[in-house]
Subunit: 219 residues, 4 copies
Amino acid sequence: MSYMRSEDRQRQILACAKRVFADRGFHAANISHICEAAGIGRGTLYQYFTNKRSVLTAILRETLDGVKALMARQEAMMAVTGFAPPEKVTRSAAIEFSARGLREVLQVVFADDDTLRILLREAVGLDVDVEQVLGEIDDVLIAIVERSIVASQRAGFIRELDARAVATMVVGGVEKLALAALRSDEPVDLERLAMEATRLHAIGTLSNRLKPEPTTQER
Amino acid sequence: MSYMRSEDRQRQILACAKRVFADRGFHAANISHICEAAGIGRGTLYQYFTNKRSVLTAILRETLDGVKALMARQEAMMAVTGFAPPEKVTRSAAIEFSARGLREVLQVVFADDDTLRILLREAVGLDVDVEQVLGEIDDVLIAIVERSIVASQRAGFIRELDARAVATMVVGGVEKLALAALRSDEPVDLERLAMEATRLHAIGTLSNRLKPEPTTQER
Amino acid sequence: MSYMRSEDRQRQILACAKRVFADRGFHAANISHICEAAGIGRGTLYQYFTNKRSVLTAILRETLDGVKALMARQEAMMAVTGFAPPEKVTRSAAIEFSARGLREVLQVVFADDDTLRILLREAVGLDVDVEQVLGEIDDVLIAIVERSIVASQRAGFIRELDARAVATMVVGGVEKLALAALRSDEPVDLERLAMEATRLHAIGTLSNRLKPEPTTQER
Amino acid sequence: MSYMRSEDRQRQILACAKRVFADRGFHAANISHICEAAGIGRGTLYQYFTNKRSVLTAILRETLDGVKALMARQEAMMAVTGFAPPEKVTRSAAIEFSARGLREVLQVVFADDDTLRILLREAVGLDVDVEQVLGEIDDVLIAIVERSIVASQRAGFIRELDARAVATMVVGGVEKLALAALRSDEPVDLERLAMEATRLHAIGTLSNRLKPEPTTQER
DNA sequence: AATGAATGAGAGTTCATTCAT
DNA sequence: CATGAATGAACTCTCATTCAT
């Protein structure tokens, strides 16, 4: 039996639980597994969390807090920074800029493989409560991308489009790539992921050799 | 007690199970729930399925069979159809063509809201076996999109890119949009989904007003 | 594993549970104890009862049903039987008549020592639900005695008094005697109990030698 | 953290525990509940009591001490007081005298609604140890009433009867009335309770109009 | 003396699965 | 083939009690 400051113990349990959930999955993971990993008695966990589920939601809420904080940070940044007029900016510069923003987001949500696995796999389809936190995270993620799109739109970098839908697709696409990486057990390279996704969504897939539209070039 | 031809009974159970799984989620759904819905005794189910899980995998495998069949069908089609040279094809025509292909895929995977919910929510993070079927479905889906991209590439419609990665993102983006629709309880409009996604991925988000690259326009 | 008709099994479990609860007390008694006594698996019990507590309330409700039935039976009897005028009836005859009525009641509530012990000891102070059934039993018991008192009053056998309060005291007195017998492990002799109680409550304790009241003899 | 003289602390804990036990019942009441009510840490309680149960028995023992003291007091009184010859005493005077005695008893046992509730509800059917204290209290209570009956008998006020049994019934009847009052949430009026019970047990229920016994009037 | 973090035995309960009918 | 009674492993969670601080 070792004593620990209440806050530290809570953090420690969360850290262990995260690893256990990621390794075994939420259902296969026992309270015992978590407690063994944390080196505490089974009862001790219940002094810090009311539920097995509440352990998971606490983990998720950490991520939620992270993305919320990022959003606030970016908001503060945007207030000061202006955009250069689009005529002065090359496409690749614009893409790089966007990719950097996306990478920042990914670094928060997919801080580590465990978080990633929990967010995209173990916490899915569990429960209304969990689903709600997951939904909130998604909302914030999409909102971040969306706001970045809207800002670029205002600056003239980006054509007119349904920013929300595009943001959703961007997030979904990135998640799927991450999941694929996860499945093949190769480490997830967030840098490359962000760049890849941004480039696709920025310039699209069509070749320039296609016959241009007779009327307008933009949507 | 009503007798039924073995195959019909199996199909009937699957149909009921699908609804039950979609409504309550895999874990919250009991064998009893399914059997009640199917109007059979609890023991009867075990004459058609070895497991609770095997009921789910049977449902998933139906979808897997569907997409595999689609893939074969498209393969057959492609063998005969040729592509017109890109100089003769407008961008919007190309997009429409792609969207039609994507829609066909979606009509199979997201045949109904129940299937969609099970694929994207209830079957996620359950189990190695289930995960494997899910993975296979994903693989086929991505392969279909990928092959379509590669074909277009060969025909010169599409610029050079990592077809596999792009296909993955396309699938992920569409799924995320579908999930969003699911969450907001509005019916999923596959037609619009396919079009929306295809356009984004085809022409990208950047505005034409951006300063063109000094050297090459394509990557 | 032995199969049994649903109803029989329920009855059997109840019988075993009654013995177990009486022997060990509600809290000390495990579900396992009951199931072992009944020779069934722990899960089987839960096909017949939703709760450990519901097993107890089922036992209590049996008694409640018993006393309710008795009450109905007596009501039917009373409708036909008339009372002789009090001048023709000796005190001891009246007492014997009353005692017979009380004994009938006791034979239902205290059918056996187990029931008695559960009613007066193990089910006390458990829970709002249990307390409610216990309260209902008490109400019926008291109502039976009260109605008998009121009837005798109308016939002129019994002086004017607060019938409800007296009935309550009669029931309480009898219960205490039964409890005392229970505690000393001697078998409870309901016949004697009823007679003893009735005589006390009928003629009171005071000696005839007491100086009579100057005014009225009756209250 | 506040320091307190050992004895005071113990008394304070007991007072709080009594309220908590009465409010929530012995099982529903946690050590935490008691400690919160007493404004102490959970560990502190264990420096004054060895057990959760021992807290309860301490409460009960307070009552036991009370009734024992009363018994001793009455014993002392009786040694000096004599009884007037019955021919000089009216029935109502005798009743009033008895009622006064009973009231004194009740004032000790049912000092407050909490004690009453604990004695008659929460402490019942708990445990051999608790049951024993409860039994002792009962014994003393009954003994007090019994002795009063025997004394009155000797003085000729009371007819020949099984004093012990009658005393038991008196106590039981009074308790039942008190319980009924408790259940209906009306305050327990000990004065009225004692009078009501004494009158019933003194003069009985039978009407004078009943035909007198042919032989002896007394049993 | 006072605390509250730590404990772990043990409880009730669920439910996929089996099997006698 | 169909049934549903029977099962028991395995789970989460409670809470009186201990003990390092």
